[in-house]
């Protein structure tokens, strides 16, 4: 009991230390405004976006190569050109966009972001470059039922989490139930399968869907809104006045020359290209890339997970109390927090101090997480080795490390092989969480394909089969080695 209390206290101390370090770093980062200077010096303008929102930004398969296009991308290209720098695009979830600029992962975020008063409290905005207006998507069969927004009273309305549409539906449609999801593709699917009655969405997006899908219709929102709240603007980290001013000059030109109409027209062309062939074969390269990254992440994380796990497990068996305490605290902490939060913490949290690319962040987080679980499995394995074995090794004069290396660990690994195999298999599946920071793993690619093809279910099925094939092959491989080990005594 006393031991437990101590472990808890140690864990709390560790958390507090981590948080304190984090806060100090955050504070010191808010220094003088060098935003413009930094971009110019680097020669690159790093932009975060969530390319699942046609026609604002989406991915197309152009000559076999995946590319992010859309009105917003054209706006950003123009801005970069005016600043005489190269545009670098980082893609991630819409929810993560503002965090990305706050933590310095990107210089600016674009993505049909409405500069609402709430958002203005945490980030700076450029001038509005486009006002699309709000609308609702409904199923064609409901055209008579939902003639106007008044009929939506009491209906179930879907909207992307963290968007203006979500807040508006909650406030402005009486008695409605609002369902939030991360991806607009998921929301459209929810609409088509009658999980929701209507979908609050920007007008250009709604138009894009209606053009590509005859089972959908659009009705105007009828919201009377402050123009400042509804247009799309570019977001920056607070205090980036110099960069904002420079970008505003480009936006002035865009508005004067009505460039957004031109951009929208070209986005429309891309969308036609995209929906010509929606068979899954056409998108095999997307899935292949997803599988490649999922395997890459799983493989490296498994390797490092085992290394970390062995080290942690051995720390639990040392005489040094503080090493044992550290290992216990680490394991308890990692097991007590969700992998999703850990992934975001490594990418955004530690990213404040050192800039770690998304893929590496994902691998680090998944490895650290897996290490804690592997450590517990190995610890069980070490305990399962008979005491007589260590006594025999001791009586022969073997050192502790030789005893572990030649006698205990080989037997422990044999005993825990099935449990370890389970961990590897769940790693393949759990690694899918890295898609939230924009790592192009299978889940991420799946969402891209869904956004591109306007097909909700088939891509999910394809991904499911691919995951199963991967885990099935791994199971076979593990069984093969288990059999081999059995043979060896």
């Amino acid at each position: 009991m006393k031991k437990n209390v101590k472990a808890i206290i140690q864990t709390i101390l560790l958390v507090v230390t981590l948080l304190t370090v984090g806060l100090i770093q955050t504070n010191s980062a808010a220094a003088a405004d060098t935003s413009l200077q930094r971009v110019k010096q680097r020669g690159e303008l790093i932009m975060a976006t969530s390319p699942d929102y046609p026609p604002y930004e989406f991915q197309v398969n152009k000559n076999g190569k995946s590319q992010i296009v859309g009105m917003d991308i054209d706006v950003a290209k123009k801005v970069a050109k005016d600043l005489h720098v190269k545009l670098v695009i980082k893609s991630m979830n819409f929810d993560s966009l503002l965090v990305a600029i706050q933590t310095g992962k990107a210089d600016m975020a674009i993505g049909g972001i409405n500069p609402t008063a709430e958002r203005r409290q945490s980030v700076d905005f450029s001038k509005i470059y486009y006002s699309g207006g709000q609308s609702f998507l409904i199923n064609s069969k409901d055209v008579n039922k939902y003639k106007s927004v008044k009929n939506l009273r009491g209906a179930t309305i879907g909207a992307q989490t963290g968007t203006l549409q979500y807040g508006l539906a909650k406030k402005r449609i009486p008695n409605s139930t609002v369902k939030g999801m991360d991806k607009s593709t998921d929301l459209v699917l929810a609409l088509k399968t009658n999980k929701i009655d209507a979908l609050g969405i920007e007008k250009p997006s709604a138009e894009a869907y209606v053009k590509n899908d005859p089972t959908l219709k659009m009705i105007p929102s009828g919201y009377h809104l402050n123009k400042n709240d509804v247009g799309a603007a570019i977001a920056f980290k607070k205090g980036s006045t110099s960069l904002v001013n420079a970008v505003n000059k480009s936006i002035d030109q865009i508005k004067k020359q009505d460039l957004t109409s031109k951009y929208l027209a070209s986005a429309g062309k891309y969308m036609k290209v995209n929906t010509v062939n929606t068979s899954m074969w056409h998108y095999w390269s997307y899935f292949a890339k997803g599988v490649e990254y999922t395997i890459l992440i799983s493989l490296i994380s498994t390797l490092f997970g085992v290394i970390i796990g062995v080290v942690l497990a051995l720390m639990r068996f040392t005489k040094q109390k503080w090493l044992r305490g550290l290992a216990i605290s680490y394991t308890e902490f990692i097991r007590g927090t969700p992998l999703m939060v850990q992934v975001m913490f490594v990418y955004f949290g530690i990213g404040v101090v050192i800039n770690i690319p998304a893929l590496l962040s994902g691998i680090i987080a998944v490895s650290l997480n897996s290490g804690a679980y592997v450590a517990e499995i190995i610890r069980g394995g070490i305990n399962s080795v008979e005491k007589g074995q260590t006594e025999a090794a001791e009586s022969l004069g073997l050192t502790k490390s030789d005893m572990m290396r030649y006698v205990v660990l080989p037997q422990a690994f044999k005993n825990i092989w099935p449990a370890l195999g389970n961990e590897f298999i769940s790693l393949i599946k759990e690694s899918s969480i890295v898609s939230i920071i924009g790592v192009t793993d299978l889940i991420y690619q799946l969402n891209i394909v869904r956004a591109d093809t306007y097909r909700g279910v088939i891509p999910i099925f394809v991904a499911m089969v691919l995951y199963f094939v991967m885990t099935f092959l791994l199971t076979r491989l593990l069984n093969y080695y288990e059999g081999k080990m059995k043979h060896a005594g």
Binding site: G388, A392, L396, L398, Y406, Q411, K414
Partner: protein, 249 residues
């Protein structure tokens, strides 16, 4: 040489919690001597033997190996002393993840820094000596208990120890396999190996031991030549114990 003290135990006691297993044990083992430790179960025989190479840490007292007190050294020095004492366990404790040959080669290579070839040569010689050179590449799990114990003896001998400790080496064996193990032990004794043997094999004790120690309740109650111990024990507990064993036969 014959009179050199290999092991010397002074006022050794061992407690497990409140339970005192060994109480003020004294004794000396001279070079070349074979000591058999007998007594009823629970007497503390195994604990005594395990204190000799510090697998159990004595609560108080001294265990001197060639003049060095083991209870006051640790780390590298303890390992250095331990490698010169071979130990054979009741449950063999061969490493199941290695072949018989590798079982014999591991410690010579890792502890004595012997070359691969030398270690192999020594190992094969020892396996031949215990009659198991044909099993060099087998895994322990494919051997009979008697064979495993002979390998375990060879493994301990591979370190070229100055004394061999046997902890009830035949207790876990089927009766028909006891003989082959005792035979190997007898040969060892004949060659002049210093041995401390905890055993229930009275025949072996009688014919091989130079001295028999009778233990009960954590004390060594009597030590005598085998003939005296078995034919004319002095201590009442010893009388009782030996009387029962003869009756059982």
């Amino acid at each position: 040489m014959q009179d050199k003290n290999i092991l010397e135990v002074n006022h050794l006691s061992k407690k497990f919690g409140e339970n005192e297993i060994l109480k003020d044990i004294n004794g000396t083992v001279k070079s070349g001597q074979v000591i058999c430790v007998i007594g009823p179960s629970g007497a503390g025989k195994s604990t005594f033997l395990r204190c000799l190479n510090l697998l159990e840490k004595p609560t108080s007292g001294e265990v001197k190996f060639e003049g060095t007190d083991l209870t006051h050294v640790d780390g590298k020095q303890l390992l250095d002393l331990r490698e010169r004492m071979g130990m054979v366990f009741q449950s063999f404790n061969l490493f199941p993840n290695m072949t018989v040959l590798r079982n014999l080669m591991l410690a010579p290579i890792r502890v004595k820094h012997m070359s691969e070839e030398d270690a192999k040569q020594t190992a094969m010689k020892l396996l031949k000596r215990v009659g198991l050179d044909g099993k060099a590449d087998a895994y322990p799990s494919s051997l009979s208990g008697g064979q495993q114990q002979r390998v375990a003896i060879a493994r301990a001998l591979a370190m070229n120890p100055e004394v061999m400790l046997f902890d009830e080496p035949t207790s876990a064996l089927d009766p028909e396999m006891v003989g082959e193990v005792l035979e190997v032990m007898q040969e060892l004794a004949n060659e002049g190996m210093t041995m401390v043997v905890v055993t229930h094999e009275m025949g072996f004790a009688k014919s091989v031991a130079d001295e028999v120690w009778f233990m009960a309740d954590g004390y060594i109650l009597e030590r005598s030549k085998p003939a005296e111990m078995f034919d004319n024990p002095q201590n009442d507990r010893a009388k009782d114990f030996i009387g029962k064993i003869i009756e059982a036969k």
